[in-house]
Amino acid sequence: MLKVEGLTCRYGKVAAVRELSMDVNAGELVSLIGANGAGKTTTLKSISGVLPPASGRITFLGEDITRATPKRILQLGIAHCPEGRRVFPYMSVLENLEMGSYLRSDSAEVAEDMAKLFERFPILHERRNQAAGTLSGGEQQMLAISRALMSRPKLVLFDEPSLGLAPNLVERTFEIIKSIRAQGVTVVMVEQNAYAALELSDRAYVLDQGRVIMTGTGAELLNNPHVKAAYLGA
């Protein structure tokens, strides 16, 4: 479904990602794990078109999206849930969700999707008129995920979904991601919490200094001594 070949990304002269190749099949949940600065976030940004790569090739559903605009990539069905500041703080919850469907013109179905999301996350419905910045961290994450889903993506890129959340919310977030995948949406996730990520994933890529150093199924990597020593702290 998604194929990345020989991707190299630079910030000025510094290469953050070097000759990275990966592929994702439809319906899979694939994680990228690795230390800070390994190039995980950069890879996601290249896929979503926010950061055009220096070289390499990215194809999605057979179409070359290496140099496509973020708008085009979103239209093809890749939604990006960026890390850090996840919402538009002064817009209401409702308006945040509407921004998620910004490129859609099928307003009846948008309303339907929104109703479904509200059913799934009643707290968002309760707070629909509240400024998103006044929500708790977990609620903001729910909102960010819901917003990404509002574009009816085929593939969602999650960047550090557990970052800055309380432990019980982390679990809840991963459950939501699992349920998204269960609905047939493909997921690529970047995660610091390697243990949780590997448990959840079908497959994972381990990144170090911009390169893929290891790949395998979640279970394989969980039991790999090197991964255990370097990333799982066991």
């Binding site: 979503s48 926010v50 973020p70 939604a79 209401s92 921004m99 910004y102 509240q130 400024a131």
Partner: protein, 347 residues
Amino acid sequence: MKRGLTLAWLLFLASVPLWLDNLYILHVLIMTGIFVIAAMSLNLLLGYTGQLSLGHVAFFGIGAYVSSLTTLGFSVHLLPDWQVSADPKPVWFGMLLGTVVAGLFGWAIGRLAFKVRGAYFVIVTISFAEVIRLVALNWVELTQGPMALNNIPYLRLGIPEVFEVAFLRKPANYYLVLAVGILCYIIIRRLVKSRAGRAMIALRENEPLASSVGVDVTRYLVLATVVSAAMAGAAGTLYAHYVRIVDPDVFLFIYTVTMVIMVISGGKGTLAGPVVGGIIFGLLPEVLRSARVPPEMQWVVYGVLMILVVYFLPQGIVPAVRDWWLSRRAADAPDVPAEATTKAASR
């Protein structure tokens, strides 16, 4: 309720020349109105896209100069043996051209904003205004430099010798400024309530996120800058044909600062903010003057008031009044959910 209030407010504004017999105060109102239009245009950029243009007066001045030169005619040597001249054109055409040319400059600055943001955008706009001011000051053959463009014709509308309205006297100019002001308000209102406006607010609040939901950031920044610049240019053309003398001082930095004060104190990112801020800070010097405050004290009071507004109402006057009003209403009717107020506060 809100509609009624707007209508009453408009009727009041429209009635002013009928009962006000002090022409000086009418003049102050006209100048305030022109500044309110400029402040509204700045608010589109500063309040809705979050880009601070500290060279906004350049668009105002460009509008004033282009319109004046078009209606006066000019003749300049672009090269020693290449002379370009233009005959005087009608005033309405000059005003239109001034607005369009200011918009074109806005387009250029907007394209630049794609590359530079934040502090760099501020510096670029300041430099732009200063360069334009120096051109106006030194290109004497075209602009008369410090000798100023004089005898600028006033606007006439209608068919000559059949029915014509001359915008020479103050009441006529008052209505002209009021009409243009209302038009600009409606344009801005429609723009910010549209999809484009939503995109602008999104990119102000969180630019990376805005681009990741598919907002074409450059496109909307450029759109906002063009509309904003054209509106400031329109205000400049009103100024030129009302005051009927334009010199390079229209590019002074202090005018940009005045616009920024009006927007920030009134409430940036709100529709009514620049209007309220513009009226308060446009009329304040005159109120102080008539209260026989000595001239040197007037600016002190002006400054202190500004500090107080910024300190106690950091969001500006309009959002503060609205929050106060909504919380009072919520207190009167306890069954109104508290979230209604939070929502208003967020806008």
